[in-house]
């Protein structure tokens, strides 16, 4: 387990020096971004068992908060990232309070609905750029301004650090009291409550942490692409993709979302690159088929395959 992790870390550090082109580096950044989003989803959907299909709200909250603060108050994106995490956390509390009364599928459906409402609301929000979106001012390059123009290395390592922090946090949470409480809630909420687990409070903790981490990823996305609009940071398809990464990777495991992103993102890119130019939508068919195969033959996700091969411990 430790050796596998060390190899993974070394590979992550060395990757941009082996693959110098912008495209492989972009691919690696996408993998890490989805791994981060999947890990954040996993706190709520995996550990605590509350399947959210509205993660795009938090992603959008992070992207819009930091961008608007940069545009109107000239604040550093790093400050914006913290502010975005706070906004997303507050939204998460507001969403969690009524929605956690619902359980199972009903909670998932409620999050879809709220996500769609958020998308429509921002589309009609003049100050937030409406449907046209917001361009980030291209500023000086550097870690402080969170913009890197000539090379992607800056983005790469910033995101790698963010991902590492998220994975460590989720490993630590999983091992601690919160992890046990969440698992108890996931397995049987009434039973958990009867033995004194404050279910609502710990579900709220899960959604707030998940939202804050997702918002940080949103700020990263905005700084990376330098353009946001409701179609790119608030669509339902993003929420589903986030959930898919974690579920296919292995729900409730620390390393699962990373494995899921490592397989899914290159898969989606590869099918599109090889087949997408034909204009016959074959890529989506192949992509969907592969997802079906994984979920039929290995319901425990890619982490399940890895475990069977003895690559990771439980």
């Amino acid at each position: 387990m430790k050796i596998a992790l060390a190899i993974l870390a070394a590979a992550a550090l060395g990757f941009p020096f082996v693959f110098r082109g912008p495209y492989p580096q972009h691919l690696a950044i996408l993998v890490m971004l989805y791994a981060l989003l999947g890990s954040a989803w996993n706190l709520l959907g995996g550990f605590a068992g509350q399947v959210s299909l509205g993660q795009a709200i938090f992603f959008g909250a992070g992207a819009y908060t930091s961008t608007l603060l940069a545009q109107h108050a000239g604040l550093s994106p790093w400050v914006g990232m913290i502010a975005g995490a706070l906004v997303a956390g507050a939204l998460a509390l507001a969403i969690g309070y009524p929605c956690f009364r619902l359980s199972g599928h009903y909670f998932a459906i409620a999050t879809i609905a709220i996500g769609e409402i958020a998308g429509i609301a921002v589309t009609n929000w003049d100050f937030g750029g409406g449907a046209v979106g917001l361009f980030l001012p291209v500023g000086t390059e550097g870690l402080l301004s969170f913009q890197f123009h000539r090379s992607k290395l800056g983005y790469y390592y910033v995101l790698a650090a963010m991902l590492l922090a998220t994975l460590l946090l989720s490993a630590w949470l999983r091992r601690g009291r919160a992890g046990y409480y969440w698992r108890a809630i996931r397995e049987d909420q009434p039973a958990a409550r009867s033995v004194g687990v404050p279910a609502l409070r710990f579900k709220q903790i899960a959604i707030v942490l998940s939202a804050a981490l997702t918002a940080c990823a949103g700020t990263f996305y905005a700084q990376y692409v330098l353009f946001i609009d409701p179609g790119s940071v608030l669509p339902l398809s993003l929420s589903i993709q986030i959930c898919l990464v974690a579920v296919l990777g292995g729900v409730g495991t620390v390393i699962g979302p990373l494995l899921g992103a490592l397989v899914l993102v290159p898969l989606s890119e590869a099918t599109r690159v090889l087949l997408g130019g034909s204009g016959r939508s074959l890529d989506l068919v192949v992509y969907g088929l592969l997802i079906m195969l994984i979920s039929v033959f290995e319901p425990a996700g890619i982490a399940g395959i890895a475990r069977r091969l003895g690559l990771t411990a439980r």
């Binding site: 495209y23 972009h26 996305y221 609009d229 179609g231 398809s237 599109r272 204009g279 989506l284």
Partner: protein, 420 residues
């Protein structure tokens, strides 16, 4: 073209032909080829492929690079286009643009229909310093970013709005003077944006806005809105509506006997295929803006010839003959503009192509568009010679009535009173 520039091109062409003249020039095209916009994306793809055929083969048409094979200043090198699918997602547009540049080694990029994808894909091109030609995104914001490598041939929503007022100015010269305008628009992004531009240009061109009526396009009753317009008595009504509300408003105008001298509509609902069948004769006389029309072929024979080739191409590659529309026509022209610049650059070096694009000067006659030509603004890189057309519904058909030199039918002004 200055003498020195001509000399430089001639010399580089001569050198290029002898030294490292590439066998083929590769262009990357990022478009929505799957998902909800697949039909549009594939029409664009067919149009670009047709344009490539016209450049590569010897075809007798009055278009740039049609005669002779390949790119003459690059030793007859052939064009090849690599297509990539962005599925309507800005982040995928970015990634495809980067892949085409780094893996496929394209000399220039084209794209991407959706304004938001064009925004990110062109950002990648800007960072990688590769020319990016946009033929079909109309969001005015795109050319306000101060990019060095971004060029746009199509007019923007802003210019389409100004078109109305240029048209009114010309009508004035013909003795049909309108002094006041009334605005009626649906109250989401489309309508409100249009109304902002229309107010700006009304002021610039000296027309008084006597009514400003926003409404909900899902409303089932527009009586009070039309009453307000009727009371304000505008000479001309500028309308931006979707389909159902365009139908409802036309019926309500008849019911309440509101008849301005002219109605100028911002395409959308007034050119939707349901509109004329739904209101029948009452649609006659309404004028709408358009990007392009097949009917332009009556004054520009090349439009018809290219459309015939397009029908043949789509029949052969996609199993059904498809007519060109405003989007495929613009993509077709976009590829030719890019090919023309690469040919004049005599090189596939990005900086030389960029300089050649800046020096682009194509006359309106060499285009299948209603434009006066292609010439980029030195700062924004927006085509300064683009313009839309106006079509008027006459006997249930959309006829091109403006610009007057391209008109296929006489304009009818003013609108006849109801029931006549």
């Amino acid at each position: 073209m200055s003498f020195r520039l001509a000399l430089a091109i001639a010399v580089s062409a001569a050198l290029g032909a002898r030294a490292a003249s590439p066998q083929e020039v590769v262009i990357g095209a990022v478009y929505p080829l799957s998902g909800g916009l697949a039909k549009v994306g594939n029409d664009i793809k067919s149009a670009i492929e047709l344009a490539v055929d016209i450049v590569n083969d010897d075809i007798d048409l009055p278009l740039p690079l049609a005669k002779g094979k390949g790119l003459p200043h690059l030793g007859g090198a052939k064009l090849r286009v690599v297509f990539a699918d962005h599925q309507g997602a800005p982040e995928k547009g970015l990634s495809e643009a980067e892949r085409l540049v780094s893996q496929e080694k394209v000399a220039a990029l084209m794209g991407s229909y959706n304004s938001n994808v064009t925004a990110t894909a062109s950002q990648a091109a800007e960072r990688l310093q590769i020319p990016f030609l946009n033929a079909d995104s109309t969001s005015p914001l795109l050319t306000t970013r101060g990019f060095r490598w971004f060029f746009r041939t199509t007019p923007t929503d802003d210019e389409f709005s100004e078109n109305f007022f240029k048209f009114l100015d010309e009508m004035k010269k013909k003795g049909k003077a309108a002094k006041s305008v009334g605005l009626m628009y649906e109250n989401t992004l489309f309508g409100t944006d249009v109304s902002k531009f229309e107010k700006k240009y009304a002021q610039q061109h000296g027309y008084e806005v006597v009514a400003d009526v926003a409404y909900d396009s899902k409303a089932t009753n527009l009586n009070s809105e039309i009453q307000r317009l009727k009371a304000a008595k505008p000479d001309v009504l500028l309308q931006a509506s979707y389909t159902n509300d365009a139908i409802l408003s036309t019926r309500t105008m008849k019911e309440l006997d509101f008849r301005p001298q002219a109605i100028l509509a911002m395409d959308a609902g007034h050119v939707a295929s349901e509109f004329v069948p739904a209101v029948g004769k009452d649609a006659d006389g309404i004028i709408s803006r358009e990007v392009w029309a097949l009917e332009l072929g009556e004054k520009k024979p090349v439009v018809k010839k290219v459309n015939d080739l397009f029908r043949k191409k789509t029949q052969a590659t996609r199993g059904q003959a498809i007519d060109m529309d405003g989007t495929s026509a613009r993509a077709f022209v976009g590829l030719l503009v890019l090919a023309d610049a690469i040919d004049r650059a005599g090189s596939i070096e990005p900086e030389k192509i960029r300089a050649a694009l800046e020096a682009t000067d194509i006359a309106g006659d060499a285009l299948i568009m209603p434009w006066r030509g292609v010439k980029f603004d030195p700062k924004t890189h927006q085509n300064t010679l683009g313009q839309g057309i106006l079509v008027q519904i006459q006997e249930g058909k959309y006829r091109v009535v403006y610009p007057f030199d391209l008109a296929a039918a006489q304009i009818r002004w003013p609108l006849p009173a109801w029931g006549k």
